[in-house]
Symmetry: none
Subunit: 753 residues, 2 copies
Amino acid sequence: MFNTDYSQGILQYIPFFYVIWSDDLLSASEISVVMKTIEQDDSLDTNEKEQLLLWLNTENPPSDTEIKNWKHTIATSEVKLIESETYPLASFSQRLTQQQNGIGFNDHLKHIEINLGIQPNHYNHLFDVEVVHEKTSDQYDATILDKILKGPHAETVDGFREFLDQPIFRWEILRNKADFRARILEQVQTLAKKGYGAMAYPAEYGGTGNMPAYAAIFEHLMFVDGSLAVKFGVQFGLFGGSIQKLGSKRHHDQYLTNAGTTQLLGCFAMTETGHGSNVRGIRTTATYEPTSDSIVIHTPGKNDNKEYIGNALHSKMATVFAQLIVDGKNEGVHAILVPLRNEKHEELEGITVEDNGYKLGLNGVDNGKIWFNNVRVPRENLLNKYGEIRDDGTYFSSIKNPNKRFFTMLGTLVGGRICVARGALGGAKMALSIAVKYALNRRQFNDSVKIQEDLIMDYPTHQIRLTPSIASAYVYHVTLEEMMKRYSDDSQPDKRKIETQVAGLKSIITWFANDTIQECREACGGKGYLLENRIADLKGDVDIFTTFEGDNTVLLQLAAKGVLSDFQAEFNSAGFTSVLKLLQSQLSDTLTAINPLYSNKVDAEHLYNPKFHKHAFSYRTRRLTYTLAMRIRNYIKKGVPSYQAFLKVQTHLLALGKAYSVELAYGVFHDFCETVTDAEHKDLLEKLGTLYALNEIHADARWFLEQGYIGGTKSKAIRQRVERLSTELRPHIEVLVDGFGIPEHCLTAPIAQ
Amino acid sequence: MFNTDYSQGILQYIPFFYVIWSDDLLSASEISVVMKTIEQDDSLDTNEKEQLLLWLNTENPPSDTEIKNWKHTIATSEVKLIESETYPLASFSQRLTQQQNGIGFNDHLKHIEINLGIQPNHYNHLFDVEVVHEKTSDQYDATILDKILKGPHAETVDGFREFLDQPIFRWEILRNKADFRARILEQVQTLAKKGYGAMAYPAEYGGTGNMPAYAAIFEHLMFVDGSLAVKFGVQFGLFGGSIQKLGSKRHHDQYLTNAGTTQLLGCFAMTETGHGSNVRGIRTTATYEPTSDSIVIHTPGKNDNKEYIGNALHSKMATVFAQLIVDGKNEGVHAILVPLRNEKHEELEGITVEDNGYKLGLNGVDNGKIWFNNVRVPRENLLNKYGEIRDDGTYFSSIKNPNKRFFTMLGTLVGGRICVARGALGGAKMALSIAVKYALNRRQFNDSVKIQEDLIMDYPTHQIRLTPSIASAYVYHVTLEEMMKRYSDDSQPDKRKIETQVAGLKSIITWFANDTIQECREACGGKGYLLENRIADLKGDVDIFTTFEGDNTVLLQLAAKGVLSDFQAEFNSAGFTSVLKLLQSQLSDTLTAINPLYSNKVDAEHLYNPKFHKHAFSYRTRRLTYTLAMRIRNYIKKGVPSYQAFLKVQTHLLALGKAYSVELAYGVFHDFCETVTDAEHKDLLEKLGTLYALNEIHADARWFLEQGYIGGTKSKAIRQRVERLSTELRPHIEVLVDGFGIPEHCLTAPIAQ
């Protein structure tokens, strides 16, 4: 029946050949790896080598009869596959031959297994499996990953995690907004008492001046409750931050310490019902009245009230953004400190506050509307770092250009945007941790043979659903850390570039977070829908992160315009046409380099090479910049006003904003990996980077295909690699989410136990 | 009475003064702007200037008599305000003076208007407004669209809409689940009293036997509250429906009328904690006990309780799905009626019900867990249409194959799946209506020339965000109507094909609905986040539609397997290889037809031609079927068990399931358009079909490019056409959402007013 009379040399290779040919798993380049190993294996004689190499001929693959012979050999051997071994397949081979022939172990087999990089879950259906089943391999260590991610903040973060292990931070369901808000307020006060609120302030006001560490603990608040993170951010980041960044020493001395301790609760009143995205168009006025040496704050029309103002119901004071009018002249938007309530918490004269009511999420945050009816405050209440009213009643600013002044003031909010992205990321990490832990316990369906049903984490669809998002979470964590470092670096006073970068990153990361949380909800089925399992709340809370601190659609256009300005800055010196020509020729060069051979190169070495990823991302950004500039130029040449021209290319702007942000994130992550000293975990991180890059290229494959940058074969190969990497990471998936370092006392979802 | 004898110089300023003094619109600083302009206006003589400046004195404002004189002048002038003009107020002034005096236009007025920066929506209440600017053209008629969509159910639907105009159906925020559930129960009872609950039942049990009309009114419940739709569906569709479809006459006579009137509240206990998707694996047992001639219902293990059971806390009875064991033999899953509570609403012996608690949405539905501890019910309680226990205690079924029997029973649930998709669609329509109406009022940003900011609906990004979804909503509405018609057609007893189709459609439509609602939330910015604007609730409620009545990922695989079976049925007769060869040659023919000329054909005539769309969709389905069959065949040839083979192609299955469903929906919609007699609205519907088709091809352009079915140029052209069609439909967008026919009394979101 079966011809299974193999020499021992051949026999030890049979499990590998069986795996290789039972599947469409391997590309030509990988087969060549196997070839090389066989050629170098001195334990084989010439005939054996010849036979084995014949079996690797893709032109003339082994016959079905041959494959059945292999199968029979394996099936009748009674050797079982032990998935948890370091080299399961090589070990299987060893036991197969030892049993029959008693020879020693052939190290070449191990090398094949390493080079193939395939995992038991790719091939375990081909063998009898001995269940020493572990859900997660111990090849990597979550605490090392966590340490890498914590970076310089390890001590602060560890202390903070421990601090969160108190009853006041236990998550609970509070449906009534009054109860919920009271609880969140108490949590904020508890954090303030310990000094966490003031962390980013200078030491003389109770802080440590460490904004990056502040951002790291801020993210952790999402593990407790989204409402806590937001209220904390409003009180210390927006209200306190506006005093710190827009005010001068007298404001710091008078208010900053109290803001940090929550002695003084405050809010940040910028957005109006009529003006959210268009902040420059806000209509609240702040008119200087020389007779009383005071500033009159006034809400002129029915849509000009402040809206969605967080902390509005608990606050004693507000930083109010208004058009500053001095001597009949509008000096543009400025920030003024306006007391809202007295000691008895009664609204002061002229102040009306109304509750915004229930929201999709964040119901522990007291958002409200505020109206001002000719409210007088002393001139000193103007936060005067960038513009002030002098004693003689005249206006003065060191920044003469009102446009530049406005953007300088707004630029101080960039730190808040990083924190928003960081918070969204924290929400995504939390949801991923819950979904992965559930998928490592939940079983559903099996074949008719097995006793147990299959873990849902072992389904390819489930792997592809969660794994690329985990990779993205790692990439974005590192990126946001780096952005905060650059933002906080006072030796770099010009923050415009970072503003552009953060505008784009905030958009793609908050969208990523929402998509991920939604995917996690669905991945957990009905359990994900129950409030007790936390994903529901994360979904409702993180949703608005795409809108507040800058609507994503608006921010992406801002980012794209930043890229265009850099581009324009070049042609301001060199002249528009010559720069366009230069860029065009660069792009043509690139496309010449992209000959059909390149655009259809599908071997693993190429697809996993960071050079390919970087090249693809950089090509995309530059190509989109060039075509965008060309389109706008053509419109303007035809007499279309620039405002309208920009409207016409709006979708193009969004594409550029996204492309730029992805390129940036990948670049930052790649550079970061270079600095990781632990070789094994560096490999793992690099693999995550590869998955991120390929997944992003795959997500925009339509565009790359349209440009001819990749061909159909390559596009398919990229898709397969994303699936394959997701499967390869399956044994490490729990370590990967544990690497996020979410404390157990926060991970209280029953399905994550 | 009125002194309106103004000089022409004065007269032209009167509209401005009227606006200024009729409102608290202007701050002191803005008044000073007006002053300056008047001072510089050489068309005024000194007296006029003096008079005008007097009227700007805040210390001594114009008398009420004066203001009334202004008002009279304006009111009797018959000049109307045209809001869409660049300088509406200055233009009004001009027409006011020209009419009376015939002078030329005074540019200073324009400057005042610019400097005031106020918009018509601030002051339009003061004037007669001429509606020149239409936010929406009147080329099409929403009532005609609505009539087309209502089809044969016009009378029922119109009556139902009117019926919903009662205080009990007013939407309100109820955060406490007890209150919310009580309210929803009352709503369900109100509908039942009017006969809406029993609608799909036969006339002898209080119904009309009209399932399609039932589905149409079901969708409308989403406009009232998602919880109402779901609880209504559980009571009448699942509980009542299980009695109707799985029971026999004795069950109908005893229970159906009472189920329809809510005299008997019931639930549908299928899902278990341990088994949601894998219904065949449920572990509750129903053991026939001959001695007592009863059936013993029992929950064996800790994860075998029923879970997420809607109506569990209000019900007196449950349809329980369990493994039926007769004479020691497991006959598979059957449904048994099990009383849960007595008249006093106390749980009966052996029954334990536990509240599922709060959820992401649908908190007006009482979901619970149920345990059975050896609960005895009479043998007659077995719903015995497809399998029964005879008087001699033996089991009998006319369907011998247990597999077929199981799927026949489950097949009766297909109607419910159509309703779930219909409900999700209703949610999407509601969100789209709110978002469109908001976008037709909300203004943000402008160029520096215009006074008014731009409507956000006029932004290309906003158009592309909402318009293709509106097109999809039309397509899916028509598709689901047609599916329900086919499903209810008793002349077609074999429902397997419809099952396959509905499995796929339920998935793509519920995902579509979630994506759309999310897009609408973001499109409404912060306003979309407030509960009062309804989108937040829709988001939370519709979310779970992707999971219940069949998890989308599982259903898509079911759909794909259905497509494969049809394919297999062919090769069962012709032989596998010959069918593969046939299909391959067909595909090659197609690809030959797709020469470079075809794959880069970009003229509008071609891109808008339904033949192109149908060809693309059909090519995709067939190609995916063929490659899938080939892959599975290769795995099986190599000895991979079929269960594992299907796991390996899971993502491919999902792609096929989606492709098949889109092809189906487009085909149904296209055929439907052919039957529309009103030529103009037929054109409009066809345009929506074109947008749907191009948008779907665009969404999967990567795949079409990979296959060489379209070239890069064509792909770009398709993308541009999607943008262009969205812009083309802009003038009709309000008519399109009004065509959904959501009653005004349901569209209560403040931002939709």
